[in-house]
Amino acid sequence: MSVNSYNLFQTAQSQFDKAADLLELNSATREFLRNPMREFHFTIPIHMDNGEMKVFRAFRIQHNDARGPVEGGVRFHPMETVDTVRASAMWMTWKTAVVGVPLGGGNGGVICDPHNLSDFEQEQICRGWVRQLVKNIGPNSDISAPDIMTNSQHMLWMLDEYETILGARYPGAFTGKPIEMGGSQGRIQATGYGIMIAVREALKELNIKINGTTASFQGFGKVSYYAIELYQKMGGKVICVSTWDNNENRSFSFRKKDGINLEDLREITNIYGGINKDKAEDIGYEVLSGDAWLEQEVDILVPAAIENQITDNNTDKINKCVKIIAEGANGPTSSKADAILNKSSIFIIPDFLANAGGVICSYFEQVQNNMNYYWDKDEVLAKLDVKMATAYADVSDFSRENKLGMRDSAYVIAVDKVAQACHSRGWV
């Protein structure tokens, strides 16, 4: 690839530079945090099903472990590059820091296309991954989690290989496991609940009673579903959700002005995440165009589907009543739209913070694994509430005190925490 090409790592570095400038970090700290602490580049030879031998290239990047063992995904992708993995590792460092869990940031990947591999071959790659890294990963040094084209099955293969080599059980070395294999209760709710805990805190600051507020959601997957569940429990009213319709290859919004009924909608939602239009009309929902969710007269917008949904083309369609946008998805607001919204009165809870419930729960999973004692769902969710609320308050206080946007504040706090830890350890 050309030197000038778009490079995720460079993007991540320039974001860091911006925060470092604000924090006036010294050059050594900058140099230290701009790059990963450790990188492993290795190969995984495996026997393919047809007896042929094939060698796969792989990386594990440990960006920073000043605040605790690194944690991060392992992805399988045919065009994976080390820079993409470096960028993800760095972002993980900031993400764990901003929500205040004692973990660092890492990420890894194997250059392979699962579409070209049988399950057994993928299992061999997972086991090969562990064999190469066994000395450098573990519950106290580096924890792996599912990422692009990997899932809990891959984690279990890796865990099994790890435990087989070491001759003991270390469930905390890999997260994202199914509950019966050491996963945490409440994981499925964590991201959605986390968003609405942040929204609740934001409303408190805005002096608005959550009772009587209204919201509109983009997406009706797991994240939205549980966010709506918590929001309704807290007294809010959701009047619109939009979903993608696989048959028509476009999205639709479903509106009920006196509030949607989550169970009714769930009844008519297929496992593919689409709401049945006809049945929705039958039970009193208005079926509107896909982007109508954005135009509703509500207090809160929650884009929880895919990236780049709020752009400079549609910011003008956002209703004047909207007070909060809580970014449930990753990067739902384009940078141009972000600039426009920053000038408006709308308060943005950045993705970084809003959807951190997942990371927190992943941390809870390790904690429970490591002490081999498991909490029930309510306990997990209560602890999540405390963590989210605290993280939110930190960012929001900082934003207010320093007259900095929420997104920048979150970034700056994160970098600051990591820099402090490095400093305390006498590294820089």
Partner: protein
């Protein structure tokens, strides 16, 4: 209540069978009674025989034998009679008759049961055998008296008395045999068999008098002489062996005689075969050569007279195989019909799998569902019977008239009657089938005659086969009539017209098959079904080879696997590489899993499509082999299921067939079946199959058809260099796209140089907007790396399927970079969408040896992006839109792809050039129908509409046409794009809309009559205002546009 009646029926039936058996035993007892004379025996028989009949009290038997009549004193002759000849050694000795003296309820044949017909036949055979035995006894007794005689002399004597004609034939064979042995005495005997009596020169002379016929005594003398000579040179054993061999051979002579007759009726064949099997059971053995000749004749008369078919079939089919087949063919009296392509294809496939030496135990791996046939002339017979001959001429009418009249034809057929002998046979057939649902399929004789595949052109209908016998029969005949009427439907007639097959009478046979499946709740369906192709032309991984094959699997009835689905997906598996699945991530697996299932609703007696999720909720645990069909969604992945552990109401299950791939031998089985068939038939094949949970059933086998899933194009050999835009030679599928007017080219180098995420994302959105703007299926997309990549955006343009769904082809370019060639996606991100919607995919490796890539065409052609989308001018260096017609001065691009040759080319060509592609593996070519027709009438109609627009009344300033009609590229389903420059009020707009809707609907109907396409209103109307035109917003860009500019039509020229 109903149960009791059912039980009662069964008991009655069993009682009847017991009576019949009893009657047979008593008959045999009598015939073997050595104490009684034959008169006594026959007289006793007329008392015994009536006991075997349903109403013995009113039943009388009579035996007439060589002028003697045996009957009871109270015997009376009536019209209710069943009769059978008593035959011994081919001679009729008399007859056996059974009478009812008074009327009794109507059964299979008048008042008689079909079992009783068999019974009377068996008894008369027994009596015949008795006479033969008596004759032999007398001969042997005579020979005992003169014990000096040799054994062969006894046989000759016996033959003289019993079958003199046979004796002559055997004598003749002995002469031949002697000559072979070089015995000169024998050669002289030839003269006797020569009608000219050895006067060699007689043929050279004019002879006016008839030859002298030989008398019987001459014959006896000569045969004595022959065998005397034989006894001189041959030992006794040799003579006896030869005689007995010849006698056996002679018994099958009638078969040869009949089958070499032409034309021959199915009835004659059936009778002859029946006799053959009878003799066979008595020890008849055919010589290999005779067996072969019989086999070939039977194949020719019953299955298919195509030489290629016979050449293969004769190696696998034996005479015995026809035994069961012939009993299951329903045919009109004097029928000379055949079974049709589908039936004979399946029959042959079955025999190949049973007898192939390529694999040992395939015959145990599958079953063929019970099948009956109606011979191909059943259709004409049905039409003659109902005086429907006129409908035959239907095919010569204009296609729109055919389409209009087709519902009427169908109605008339369904209200017509079947001839009584067919009805009777159908009724017997239903008894044989029992109560399982059936499928009535057409099987056209034209399919084999002309090497054409009528895939999906004729109807196949499922029937529930439930209810009373009368209801079942009515449902069945209704379905047959409907399938018959589909012969006169517009689609097959158009198809035949295109192939010059119109003048042939359509001989359509019918195949009635038991539907494979199980009853689950109120539904009946197979666990799964599908189509297996021996060649895989849709590869989703570079590791899959063409010969790894392809399976399209669906839960339930296979109807969903055969055709492309617009709203659902079959599961695709490559049996050679079953572990390389098309879908890997949970999202993909869920999105592309089958959502619906076709079933037969037993209660409603209907064919239905229902949601699989609902079915699993209701009957999840009862679904046959559910653990091999579905997986459970569990967290972020799918898990195998155990039937007992299923919680249909709590958990989500989706169809993945993972269990089938991992924990069953199915894939292995189907793979070996398909590869054996391909090897033995020596062409690629596809088979349809279904699995009821216990067994795999093969339903159809035919040459791999490309009709639905892309045909290979013929790649021209010498393309001028200046016409060739690119060529490719890796992982090519089949297909052809023609008349391409635009190419959207995302420059791989420029794309890689973009450093800003928003700009990368903007490229994808630009492609999406072009997808809306460019003429559907007349443009294609080319770009770097992986289209639709969901990971790192720079690896490929991250479009969604809806942003490319109008493209004709997707090209992924892999440019070499520092000795590293990036891996392409093979369209995996929306692979199944591409397959089902027929969008082609092509990976392009421009830096490979032997690949051409005319980069200058892409770099130097003018870019019209900014004309189309002025706001995206900043992407012009990355996204190039090439107007092929403008660049090539009126030409278009054609992309031809051939999987078998692994080659694809994009060439500049004149518009509507004839493209050769391969219709089926039997390689005949088809020319594409001129597309002029479609745009011409559209344009003429729109001109008429424009002429009738009153500009003041409607508030219309200008009226434009654009798109495919204007570009002369409209296809049968194209709409007509109209642009109206509107300056009126909203009221006027309402009126105008109403007025245009009338036009739109009526033109749509006209188009439907012509082509069968319904668009639901053919006019696609876009309005622009003064403001739009000023700002060049909305469709106003079309006015004066560089590409596909709207053309103004004159309005208001014909206002009356």
């Amino acid at each position: 209540m109903e149960n009791n009646t059912g039980q009662h029926n069964i008991i009655n039936e069993l009682k009847e069978r017991a009576k019949e058996l009893n009657c047979l035993y008593r008959t045999q007892e009598l015939l073997w009674d050595k104490e009684k004379t034959s008169d006594e025996i026959l007289q006793a028989l007329v008392e015994v025989i009536p006991q075997g009949w349903q109403y013995p009290d009113i039943c009388f038997a009579r035996i007439i034998c060589q002028d003697t009549i045996y009957q009871l004193p109270e015997f009376t002759e009536t019209k209710w009679v069943l009769s059978s000849d008593i035959i011994s050694q081919g001679n009729i000795y008399g007859s056996l008759q059974v009478f009812y003296v008074s009327e009794s309820p109507e059964c299979d044949n008048g008042p008689f049961l079909k079992e009783e017909e068999k019974l009377i036949k068996t008894i008369s055979e027994l009596i015949g055998g008795y006479f033969f035995h008596n004759q032999l006894k007398s001969v042997f007794e005579a020979s005992k008296k003169k014990d000096s005689k040799k054994e062969w002399v006894v046989i000759i004597d016996m033959l003289k008395k019993t079958d003199p004609k046979l004796l002559m034939r055997i004598s003749r064979k002995m002469v031949n045999f002697l000559c072979w042995k070089g015995i000169s005495e024998g050669e002289k005997l030839f003269d006797f068999f020569n009608p000219t009596n050895g006067k060699e020169s007689v043929f050279n002379k004019e002879v006016n008098s008839p030859f002298h016929a030989k008398t019987e005594s001459d014959s006896y003398l000569i045969s004595n002489k022959i065998f005397e000579i034989a006894s001189k040179y041959l030992n006794e054993k040799e003579i006896i062996d030869s005689i007995s061999r010849w006698i056996k051979q002679d018994q099958s002579g009638f078969l040869v005689n009949i089958l070499s007759k032409s034309p021959i009726t199915l009835n004659e064949i059936s009778k002859a075969l029946e006799r053959y099997y009878h003799f066979k059971s008595q020890g008849l053995v055919l010589t290999p050569i005779r067996e072969k000749s019989l086999r070939i004749n039977l194949i020719r008369h019953i299955l298919n007279d195509d030489n290629n078919f016979i050449k293969i079939a004769k190696n696998f089919v034996s005479v015995d195989d026809f035994k069961d087949l012939i009993d299951k063919i329903i045919y009109p009296v004097d029928s000379k019909g055949k079974l049709g392509g589908k039936s004979s294809g399946l029959f042959l496939a079955d025999k190949i799998l049973q007898n192939s030496r390529l694999s040992d135990d395939l015959s145990k791996q599958y079953k063929i569902p019970k099948t009956w046939y109606i011979s191909s002339d059943g259709l004409l017979n049905f039409m003659n019977y109902n005086n429907l001959e006129d409908i035959i001429d239907q095919k010569y009418k204009a296609i729109e008239q055919i389409r209009k009249e087709y519902p009427y034809v169908s109605h008339v057929f369904k209200n017509s009657l079947f001839p009584s002998e067919i009805m009777k046979a159908l009724s017997e057939m239903l008894d044989d089938f029992g109560g399982n649902p059936l499928i009535v399929r057409s099987t056209s004789v034209l399919e084999d005659r002309q090497n054409t595949i009528f895939a999906g052109k004729y109807k196949s209908l499922f029937i529930s086969n439930q209810g009373t016998k009368m209801e079942r029969l009515a449902e069945l005949t209704d379905a047959i009539a409907e399938v018959y009427s589909s012969t006169f439907g517009p689609d097959p007639i158009e198809y035949r017209a295109e192939r010059d097959l119109l003048d042939f009478d359509e001989e359509m046979a019918i195949m009635i098959q038991e539907v494979v499946g199980k009853k689950v709740g109120k539904y009946f369906f197979p666990a799964f079904a599908g189509v297996a192709f021996s060649r895989n032309n849709f590869r989703w991984s570079s590791r899959i080879k063409q010969e790894d094959g392809l399976l399209r699997l669906v839960p339930g009835l296979g109807s969903r696997a055969v055709d492309r689905l617009s709203d659902d997906y079959p599961v695709l598996i490559s049996p050679g590489q079953p572990k390389l699945r098309t879908n890997v991530t949970l999202d993909e697996i869920i999105r592309y899993s089958p959502k619906n299932i076709d079933v037969i609703n037993i209660e409603e007696r209907s064919f239905e499509t229902i949601e699989i999720a609902q079915l699993l909720k209701e009957y999840g645990k009862d679904y046959p082999i559910v653990n091999q069909i579905v997986s459970k969604i569990s967290g972020d992945c799918v898990k195998p299921v155990q039937r007992l552990g299923m919680k249909p109401n709590e958990d989500n299950y989706i169809v993945t067939f993972t269990g089938l791939v991992n924990n069953s031998t199915f894939i292995e089985k189907i793979n070996s079946i398909v590869s054996v068939l391909e090897k033995e038939l020596s062409y690629p094949i596809d088979i349809e199959f279904a699995h009821d949970g216990d067994n795999l059933y093969i339903l159809q086998c035919r040459p791999q058809s490309y009709s639905k899933l892309g045909k290979p194009s013929v790649i021209p050999s010498n393309i001028p260099k200046d016409k060739l835009i690119f060529s490719a030679n890796r992982f090519i599928s089949n297909g052809c796209i023609s008349n391409i007017t635009h190419v959207v080219y995302v420059d791989p180098i420029k794309y890689a140089e973009i450093t800003d995420y928003d700009k990368l994302a903007a490229v994808a959105r630009a492609v999406g907007r072009l997808n809306e703007l460019l003429p559907k299926r007349q443009f294609f997309l080319m770009g770097p790396g992986r289209w639709g990549s969901r990971g790192d955006i720079k690896l490929g343009v991250n479009v969604t399927y809806s942003e490319i769904n109008n493209s004709a082809l997707l090209v992924e370019i892999a440019r070499k970079h520092n000795n590293y060639v990036p891996e392409l996606s093979f369209g995996t991100h929306f692979f199944q969408d591409l397959v089902e919607s027929g969008i082609l995919y092509l990976p392009l490796y421009p830096d490979d040896d032997g690949c051409e890539f005319d980069e200058s065409f892409f770099l130097n052609s003018p870019n019209i992006l900014s004309n189309l989308l002025p706001d995206l001018e900043y992407l012009s260096s990355v996204v190039k839109v090439i107007d092929v017609i403008a660049v090539t001065k009126g030409n278009v691009l054609n992309v031809l792809m051939n999987s078998d040759d692994n080659k694809a080319v994009a060439i500049i060509s004149e518009k509507d050039v004839r493209i050769e592609h391969i219709d089926s593996v039997k390689y005949n070519t088809e020319t594409s129908k001129s597309s002029d027709f479609h745009w011409q009438w559209r344009l003429r109609s729109v001109e008429q509409i424009a002429a009738r627009i009153n500009p003041e009344y409607f508030g219309v300033k200008n009226f434009f046409i654009f798109g495919s009609t204007k570009n002369a590229t409209a296809g049968p389903c194209s709409d007509i794009d109209i642009l109206i420059h509107f300056i009126g009020t909203s009221k006027q707009k309402e009126i105008l809309n109403e007025w245009l809707k009338g036009w739109s609907d009526s033109l749509d109907y006209y188009n439907f009559l012509k082509t069968g396409c319904k668009t639901g209103g053919i006019l696609d109307i876009h309005y622009v205002t003064d403001e739009d035109i000023k700002n060049r917003t909305s469709f106003a860009v079309k006015i004066g546009a560089i590409t596909d500019a709207a053309r103004v039509l004159r309005i208001g020229t014909d206002l009356n």
